[in-house]
Symmetry: C2
Subunit: 114 residues, 2 copies
């Protein structure tokens, strides 16, 4: 109950990996454990932190729990970043084109990450 900020939560590499794994869609805890190569309690604790920070949501299905992304805190990070964006926005580089891409299409079907 340390009122953790989104940045503190994202500071942990394993937690960023979890988000990366959840980005394409829902995953069960067992799924994440297998993908992360970490102990199940370890993963559960990270999920707890992510939950408390509002970064993920849970859906129960029998014994299984399906985790998914809750984007709002990430949008806030995005907003914090906004004032700094002017530093690199003037250069029409690959990053900016990437931003354009992600803006135009939502589904992102053929998206292969991590």
């Amino acid at each position: 109950m340390t009122a953790t900020t989104t940045f503190e939560v994202l500071a942990e590499p394993s937690r960023r990996r979890i988000l990366d794994l959840l980005e394409p869609g829902e995953r069960s805890v067992g799924d994440l454990v297998a993908a992360l190569g970490m102990s199940q309690p370890g993963v559960s604790k990270h999920l707890r932190v992510l939950r408390d920070a509002g970064l993920v949501a849970v859906r129960r299905d029998a014994q299984r729990r399906w985790y998914s992304i809750r984007p709002q805190p990430l949008a806030e990070v995005d907003a914090w970043l906004a004032p700094y964006r002017r530093f690199w926005a003037q250069r029409l580089d690959a990053l900016e084109r990437h931003l354009d891409d992600t803006r135009l299409d939502a589904p992102a079907a053929a998206d292969d990450r991590r």
Copy 2:
């Protein structure tokens, strides 16, 4: 020398405040100390971390050192955020319009931040 990632560096509130203070332009250490209400050694240590992470640059002028923003690591955070942006990009909300604004004009003349 713990090979700190940008996210770990940003996890510290004081360091984010330092970046916020540097966003409009260069500042001396004394300036930052006054603005942050923290001990001078404390500020210097945070600046050290920010320097090592490539988030700020220093310019020497006599005894004074002027710190400024180095945007590249922040751009990388922006890039990491990109895949998640689809979660809120479909809603044409205020945030997205803000993104468009920062994209269209570089100077950011009539831009009132913080």
